[in-house]
């Protein structure tokens, strides 16, 4: 009887503990507030942090328990809360920034410690390393930009945060201001700016469409490839004169204007059996920058990035597993797809068998039968490479559709699997 009573008592106590679990945690927290951090230092060596030029405020105050529970915790390192939530409990302005439209990925994922030391460090802001080095550890393009001959001063000095907010922003690329407003903080405007742009009023323009804000091989940080009229300063080829009431107005409508020089491309685009949706009506500027761009074709960004911005077939933005943006190493989408229009569905440059054979010469000569005379029993249509290979959906080796090869083969060769053919 006494045993049963004690069991009931413990159970009741445990349920009570459960129900007031938060209060218990609060009690332990409040009781430890007064605890001197020196007790912790009997075992935990934080000398490096204490001597570091940059120290976390609780470390300065030896208030270990503001972040750590000295007895028990649900999170690693006896943290009182999940790391991001813990940081946000003091740094509320960072948490407020989560409402903004553009958030730095480590911030969005609560990985504060990817960039910041938690106790102390050599770099201001408790950064793990100097900003240029820290940013380049993920943004690896920044390293190659340094090899260019013309560097933007803040970039050369490693002051990434002069233009970017490292946590969140209202503007793309985590910019501190939008477009020209950001640049004008240092570069000003007025007559000199206008004179440098053939008399056109550039005030509201987006400078980065023509200028690389980091580095360039060209004077004035102009982007790598320049449109011929732009390079020669013949703005009037495409725009009304600088003195007109609408100086940026085009002399002709989009696609028709481009067709004045690029007639073959525009014709290819709008007359193809399968046309790219963005170019079907001559919407050239969806993909091309009419002034300056990176690489061939004056694209507004690199081919893969540009295509993925709409199609995202490999989860470039979603980061989902088993999805690939590319087929093979360093292949651009335009290796297989005609970006303006094609005679084949999904804008393939030619029929899939011939297209694959341009690279896969060996496989093509010892292939599984394919072609017009070989019928896929599943569909009744001719077999092609695409009958078995997924190309983008690289869930399996050799881009096969099924994760198990037997499953793929038995889809057609049912007699081997014991089914009726």
């Amino acid at each position: 009887m006494r045993i049963a009573f004690r069991f009931a008592l413990v159970l009741a106590a445990s349920v009570g503990f459960t129900l007031v679990g938060h209060s218990v945690t609060d009690v332990s927290a409040s009781s430890s507030v007064s605890m001197d951090g020196s007790v912790c230092l009997d075992c935990h060596d934080l000398d490096d942090a204490f001597s570091a030029p940059s120290q976390h405020q609780p470390v300065i105050e030896r208030d270990c328990s503001s972040c750590h529970n000295p007895h028990v915790a649900r999170f690693a390192s006896l943290l009182r809360e999940r790391p991001a939530a813990l940081c946000a409990s003091c740094h509320g302005e960072i948490a407020d920034g989560l409402q903004r439209p553009v958030i730095h990925r480590p911030v969005a994922e609560g990985r504060c410690a990817d960039c910041h030391q938690t106790h102390g460090g050599a770099v201001a802001g408790l950064l793990r390393s100097e900003p240029q080095e820290l940013c380049a550890s993920c943004h690896q393009d920044a390293t190659s930009w340094r090899e260019r001959s013309v560097l933007h001063v803040p970039f050369a000095q490693g002051k990434c945060s002069a233009c970017h907010d490292p946590h969140s922003s209202e503007f793309s690329s985590l910019a501190k201001r939008e477009g020209a407003e950001l640049c004008s903080r240092c570069h000003g405007g007025g007559a000199s700016l206008r004179a440098a742009h053939s008399g056109y009023p550039m005030g509201a323009s987006s400078c980065s469409t023509c200028h690389d804000p980091h580095a360039s091989a060209r004077k004035g940080l102009l982007r790598e490839t320049l449109h011929a009229p732009f390079e020669s300063g013949d703005c009037g080829e495409c725009h009304e004169s600088a003195s007109s009431s609408e100086p940026f107005a085009l002399v002709m409508e989009g696609g028709a204007l481009c067709a004045q020089c690029h007639e073959d491309v525009v014709e290819e685009s709008i007359g193809a059996a399968y046309s790219h949706i963005s170019s079907g009506g001559g919407a050239c500027l969806e993909c091309h920058n009419p002034h300056a761009g990176e690489g061939k074709g004056l694209l507004v960004r690199s081919t893969r990035s540009l295509c993925a911005s709409c199609h995202d077939p490999g989860g470039a933005s979603s980061g989902e597993p088993n999805r690939s943006t590319t087929h093979g190493e360093d292949l651009d989408c335009s290796e297989c797809h005609a970006p303006h229009g094609a005679g084949q569905a999904v804008l393939l440059k030619t029929d899939s068998i011939a297209l694959c054979a341009t690279c896969h010469t060996h496989e093509h000569s010892v292939r599984h039968p394919v072609g017009e005379d070989v019928f896929d029993p599943r569909t009744g249509s001719p077999m092609t490479c695409l009958s078995c290979h997924g190309i983008h959906q690289a869930g399996d080796e050799m881009y096969l559709h099924a994760s198990a090869r037997a499953e793929l083969c038995l889809g057609c060769h049912k007699e081997i699997g014991g089914g009726s053919s």
Partner: protein
């Protein structure tokens, strides 16, 4: 000893109770039901008449029309005769087709620029060029509730309603990147924006009324390329990248789906177009598999 064991048990129980109370609840999302069942593959007895369908429409349950860009621009007319489908005729087109609709009297085909719009009329379905301004570059087309033609103008990112003489009777701007268009019985219309996995409905005044995001499958975002609206307001969406037919009710709620990517009968591979044939019966241009397939929506039109 027994006391100790009981004490340990009670402490363990307390721990479990505590864990359960603080463990985050599993987030479950009810998947919509599969509501489309495969009926048949539409292929002529001769086989391989259909090669790479771009668009499809229905004249009746017994007569379907398919437009193809390759191997050559053409329209295929298929008629059910007895239990099988037969190829009734092939009409060459002057340019690659973009879309195809039936307005109750004639077939209308949107062609790649500069061909514009053509109609196929009469018993022999003779091709007749429709009078349309050359400034209009037709994309998707639909038949409005008043019988007039709705045309997506690719050159100007707008939708226009053309009167009988081909003049623009009404127009409104659209966002760029529209991949599908369908008319609504109240005089409005719906469009799809594939790159945004979104469907937008415009009311009878052609004002944006509602916008719904479409869920992808486990691996890919939805990529809507075709729409049709049933008389009861239900919206059918064809998802090219996942091979699914999605059904939204008139409030935009996702009520069910059918099919998935694949090659077997009933599965779709980069499908290009869909159309309501009759209540609950849907035809899909299964472009990647080079065929046309019919599906029945469970619980509609006598389907089970």
């Amino acid at each position: 000893m027994r006391r100790k064991r009981l004490l340990r048990l009670s402490v363990l129980l307390a721990g479990i109770t505590h864990t359960m109370a603080f463990a985050p609840a599993a987030r479950t999302q009810a998947a919509p039901p599969r509501i489309f069942s495969w009926i048949e593959t539409v292929q002529s007895e001769e086989g391989l008449a259909i090669r790479s369908p771009v668009a499809v429409t229905a004249i009746s349950e017994r007569e379907l029309v398919v437009a193809e860009a390759t191997p050559e621009p053409r329209v295929l007319r298929l008629r059910r005769s007895g239990g099988a489908w037969a190829l009734e005729g092939v009409v060459p087109l002057p340019a690659a087709p973009v879309d195809l609709v039936y307005d109750g009297k004639r077939l209308v085909v949107a062609l790649r620029q500069p061909a514009g719009l053509v109609s196929l009329e009469g018993s022999d379905r003779a091709v007749r060029r429709l009078p349309v301004s050359r400034e209009i570059v037709p994309g998707r087309i639909a038949v409005a509730s008043n019988g007039l033609l709705l045309v997506q103008d690719l050159a100007h990112d707008r939708i226009v309603e053309l009167d009988g003489s081909g003049k623009v009777a009404r127009q409104t701007d659209l966002p760029p990147g529209v991949t599908a268009l369908a008319a609504v019985s109240n005089g409005g219309f719906v469009i799809a924006l594939a790159a945004e996995s979104r469907v937008v409905r415009y009311d009878e005044q052609w004002r944006e009324e509602d916008s719904w995001s479409l869920a992808g499958d486990d691996s890919k975002p939805a990529w809507p390329v075709a729409l049709d609206v049933a008389p009861d307001g239900e919206i059918l969406v064809l998802d090219r990248h996942t091979g699914r037919i999605l059904a939204l009710d008139s409030n935009g709620r996702w009520i069910g789906f059918g099919s998935r990517q694949g090659w077997e009968p009933g599965l779709l591979w980069f499908p290009a177009d869909l159309a309501n044939v009759s209540e609950g019966l849907v035809v899909v241009a299964d472009q990647g598999n080079g065929r046309v397939q019919l599906f029945r929506q469970v619980g509609k039109g006598g389907g089970e």
